[in-house]
Symmetry: none
Subunit: 228 residues, 4 copies
C-alpha cells in the first residue's frame, strides 16, 4: 500500500506536469505556429528546463502531435457527449451545432492552432499526426452520418445521401467557425445557431408552401436565443 501509494502519487504528478506543459504549449503553438515555436519557449513558459521536456515527450514533433491529438479527441468527445444527451434527433442536430460552436468559443487558442495548422506535413512524425487527425475527423463525420441516418428513418430528414447531408452539415458548421474566428466581429458564434439550423434543415430555396416548417424553426429560434 505504501509502495502503491507512492507510485500513484508519482504517476499523478507526472501527468500533472505533463498537462502543464501541454497547456502552455497550445498557447505558444497557437500564437506562433509549429515552426516558429522553440522548445526553449515551451520550457520557459511551463517552468521546466529544455532537457526536462524530453522526459515527457520524445521531441518537438512528439510534443506537438500528442498535444494536438489529445485536444482533438477531447473536443470530439465533448461534442458527441453533449449531443448524446439529447432525446430527439432534432435536439441532437441542434446540440451538434451548439457544442461545436461552444467548443470554439471556449477554446479559441486551440482552435486557432487547428486553423493555422500546416496540414501539409512532411517529417514522418507529422505525417502520422495528419493521418490521425483525419481519422479522428472521419470518425466524427461518420458518427454524424449515423445520426442523420436515424433522422431519415424517423422521417425527420429527407431521404438523401447521408454522405452529402453530413458533408453539408459539417461544412456549414466548420465554415461558420472559420468565418467567426477569422473575423474580429464581436458577435457570439452561438447566436447564429438558429440561422445555421434553418438553412441546413429548410434550405435556401424559396417555395410556396413552407409556412409550416418555417414556423417550427422560428419557434425554436425564439425560445433558445443565444447560448454562450
Amino acid at each position: 500500500m505504501n509502495t502503491t501509494g507512492k507510485l500513484q502519487r508519482k504517476v499523478k504528478e507526472f501527468q500533472f506536469r505533463r498537462a502543464e506543459i501541454l497547456d502552455q504549449a497550445v498557447k505558444i503553438f497557437a500564437a506562433k505556429g509549429f515552426h516558429k515555436t522553440t522548445m526553449a519557449q515551451i520550457a520557459k513558459a511551463s517552468g521546466f528546463s529544455t532537457g526536462s521536456l524530453y522526459h515527457f515527450f520524445r521531441g518537438k514533433e512528439d510534443l506537438y502531435s500528442v498535444m494536438v491529438m489529445e485536444k482533438v479527441r477531447m473536443m470530439y468527445d465533448e461534442i458527441m457527449g453533449a449531443v448524446s444527451r439529447e432525446p430527439s434527433i432534432d435536439g441532437m442536430i441542434r446540440a451538434l451545432v451548439i457544442s461545436h460552436f461552444a467548443y470554439v468559443e471556449h477554446h479559441i487558442d486551440f482552435y486557432r492552432l487547428l486553423v493555422g495548422h500546416e496540414s501539409g506535413l512532411r517529417s514522418e512524425g507529422l505525417k502520422k499526426l495528419r493521418d490521425n487527425m483525419l481519422d479522428e475527423h472521419r470518425k466524427h463525420v461518420e458518427w454524424i452520418e449515423d445520426l442523420l441516418r436515424d433522422g431519415i428513418r424517423q422521417e425527420v430528414l429527407r431521404d438523401l445521401d447521408t454522405k452529402s447531408l453530413a458533408n453539408a452539415l459539417m461544412g456549414i458548421i466548420a465554415y461558420s467557425k472559420f468565418a467567426w474566428i477569422t473575423n474580429p466581429s464581436g458577435a457570439s458564434l452561438l447566436g447564429t445557431v438558429d440561422d445555421v439550423l434553418d438553412v441546413f434543415l429548410r434550405g435556401g430555396a424559396a417555395g410556396q408552401e413552407v409556412g409550416q416548417a418555417e414556423t417550427s424553426v422560428r419557434d425554436r429560434k425564439n425560445t433558445t436565443q443565444e447560448a454562450g
Copy 2:
C-alpha cells in the same frame, strides 16, 4: 522606337521568366510545404541560380506570397467569370458550385498547397499574405452574398440573412472540396454537384410537399452542364 522595342522585349522576358519560376514553385511548395522548400530547390527546378531568384522576388516569403496571391486571384476570377456568364440566379448558383469544384479538380497541386498552408501567421511577411488571402476570400464571399441577395429579391431564395446563406453555401462547397481532396476515393467531385445543390436549396428536413422543389432543381440541372 528601337529602345522601346528592346525595353518591351526585356519586360516580356522578365515576366516570362518570373512566371516560369512561379510555376515551378507551386509544385514544390505544394509537395513539401513552405518550410521544407528551399530556394535552392526552386532555383534548380526553374533553371536559375539562387542569386537570380532575388532579381525577381525580394526573398522566399515574397516569392511564396506573390505566387499564392496570384493563383488565388486567378482562381476567384475564373470562378466569378464562369458564374457571371449565367443568365439566371439558379444557373449562377449552380455554376458557382461547379466552377469551384472544377477548379480543385484541375489544380490539385495548388489546392493541396492551400489546404496545407500554415495560415498560422508568424513573420510579418506571411502575416500580410494571410491577411491578403482572407481579404480576397472575404471579397469573394461578399460577391456571393450579392448574388444571393439578388436571388432573394427575385424570390428564388428565401429571405434569410444573406451572411448565413452565403456561409452555408461557401461551407458546403469548401467542405466538399476538403473531403474530396482528403479522401482517396476515385469519384469525381463534380458528380456531387446536384446533391450539394439539393441540400443547399431544399435543406435536409423532411416536409410534406416536396415534389415541386425537386422538379425545379432537376430542371436547372439540365440547363447548366459543367463550367470550368
Copy 3:
C-alpha cells in the same frame, strides 16, 4: 566485534556490487564505445539507479578508467604469472605468446574494447587513463626485456639490443592478436603459436651462414639511406 563484522560485510557487499557494475560496463563499453555508452545504460544493466553509480565511482570517466585499469592489470598479471611458472627461458617465451593469445580468446569483449579504445587523450581524466595504460604496458615490456636479457645471458638468445628484441616479440604478438580479432576467420589464434615462435626465434631469412645476411643488410644500409 559485532561492528567489525557488520563493517566487513558492508565492505564486501560494496566490492561485490562494484564488481557487478564493472562487469556490465565492460560489455557495454566494448559494444558501443566510450562516448555512445551512457550512465543510464550501465545503471540499467547492473540493476542500479544512475545515482547509485556515483556512490561507487566519481563519474563516467572514473568508472571507465577504473574498469580498464583493473582489467589491464589482471591481464598482465595473468600473463606474467603463467610465464613465471615456466622453468626455462624457452618455455617462458613460448608461454608468453600462448598466454597473450589465450587471454584474447578468453576475453574477446575486453580486447575488442582495448582495440577500439580511443587513446587520443582529451579530458584530463582520460589522459591520465592513457598514461596509466601506457605505464602498465611499458612495465610489461620492460619485464619482457628482463626475460630476454636472461635469455641472452644464458645464450639462448642472440646478444641483440634487448629493446629491439622485446619490441619485435611484442609486435609480433600484438599484431597477431589484432589480425585475429579483426579478421572473422574461424581459426584459433593459439594454433599459430609455433609459427610465431619460429619466426621470432629463427627469423625469416634463408641461408646457413647468418653472418653473410648481416653483412648484406649493413651494405644496403649504406646505399638506401632514407625513403620518405
Copy 4:
C-alpha cells in the same frame, strides 16, 4: 576554352580550399580526438565559416572519414611506391621498414590520430570508415605477402607460411612505430631500421648453425601442441 579555363580554375580552387580544411582538420583531430573536436574549431582554423564546411563535406563524420581515408591511401601509396623502386627483395624489405618509419616521422600528426583513432565505431558512417581502413590495411599486408612470397621463391627467405611472415614483419614495424610515438625519447625511429631487419631476418635465437635452432623449435612444437 574560356569556359573550360574558368571551370578548371574553379575546380582547382575548390580542391585547394578543401585540402586546406583537411590539413587543419588533421591537426585538431589528432590533438583532441574525433568527439572533442568541433566543427567550429575546424572552421576557425581553416578560415571558413561553419556553414562553408558543409560545401565541402556532408558533415563532421564525412569530413573525418574522407580525411582519414585520403591520408591512409596516400600513406600506403607512398610506402609501396618507395618499395617498388628497389630492385632486390632484400632492398624492398628494407625499404618497406624505412618508408614506414619515415612516414611516421614526417606525419606525426596524422599518425598520432591513427593511433588514437577510436576504431570501436558506431554511427553507420564511422563503421564504414573502419571497414575501409581495415580493407586498405589488409590490401597492404597482402601486398607484403606477395613480396615475401617472391622472397621465398628467390630463396632469400625461408619457406614459411607467408601470412605468418607478413604478420611478423608488419607487427614489428607497427609496434616500433607505436613504441616510438608513445615514448618521448628523442631518438630517430629510422635509426632502428637495422635492428628491426636483423631481428626479422635472423631471429632472436642464438646458435651458429641454424639447423640446430630449427630442431629445437620443432621439438618443442611437437611436445607442446596447443595450450588454451
